[in-house]
């Protein structure tokens, strides 16, 4: 799952950047996504010892939120240069990553993760995260375009 987070974070950063040319973010968005994803994995793994005492679902919530915070904060630093209220983006990413991890909480510690979790839950989780962050960025970008005529 962590490998998916890193590679998926970088790849989705590239795909998302293709939707953002209007804001002239160039490679900053991809860089922020890549650094956030890699940093997120290290910080999340490092925080397991702190969160380990909590029940499985709370542990998953905290790890997801930590991962989301690393990715979201990096992207927020880029987005805030062009969009007012960009902190909402970081909040949306944190919430969505927390939801993703809660979704897989019962299988997160399994040695056979892909065999443990039903496929519809994996892709359903991706879809919810994609739609959730999509709604946040659509709101922020449309407001920016509408207000400033970027």
């Amino acid at each position: 799952m962590l490998a998916v987070a890193v590679v998926g974070g970088i790849l989705s950063g590239i795909a998302q950047w293709m939707i953002l040319p209007r804001l002239k973010m160039k490679g900053l968005w991809i860089l922020a996504s890549a650094i956030g994803s890699v940093l997120g994995v290290f910080v999340t793994l490092g925080s397991i010892n702190i969160f380990y005492q909590f029940p499985e679902s709370v542990l998953a919530l905290m790890m997801g939120a930590t991962m989301g915070a690393m990715i979201g904060l990096g992207q927020w630093l880029v987005l805030r240069q062009w969009v007012r209220g960009a902190y909402l983006w970081a909040v949306a990413v944190i919430i969505n990553w927390a939801l993703i991890w809660i979704n897989i909480a019962d299988c997160a510690g399994s040695t056979d993760f892909w065999g443990c979790i039903p496929i519809w839950r994996v892709y359903g989780g991706y879809l919810i995260m994609s739609a959730g962050t999509g709604a946040a960025i659509a709101f922020l970008l449309t407001r920016a375009i509408h207000v400033t005529r970027l």
Binding site: V7, G8, L11, A15, Y123, Y126, L127, S130, A138, T142
Partner: protein, 53 residues
Amino acid sequence: MPTEHKHNNDVSQPTQEAETSNVWKAMLSIWIKWTLATFVSYTLVSLLLGFLA
């Protein structure tokens, strides 16, 4: 003067409505593109890593 006032109102109303409609269209367009781009990215990576594992 009152005639001119009425004229301005007639012009601004549809323009504002069209602008609001455009904002919603832009929002929907970004949402769909973003959702697809992100979903496809994570799905591809999962399939690839699942295949390699």
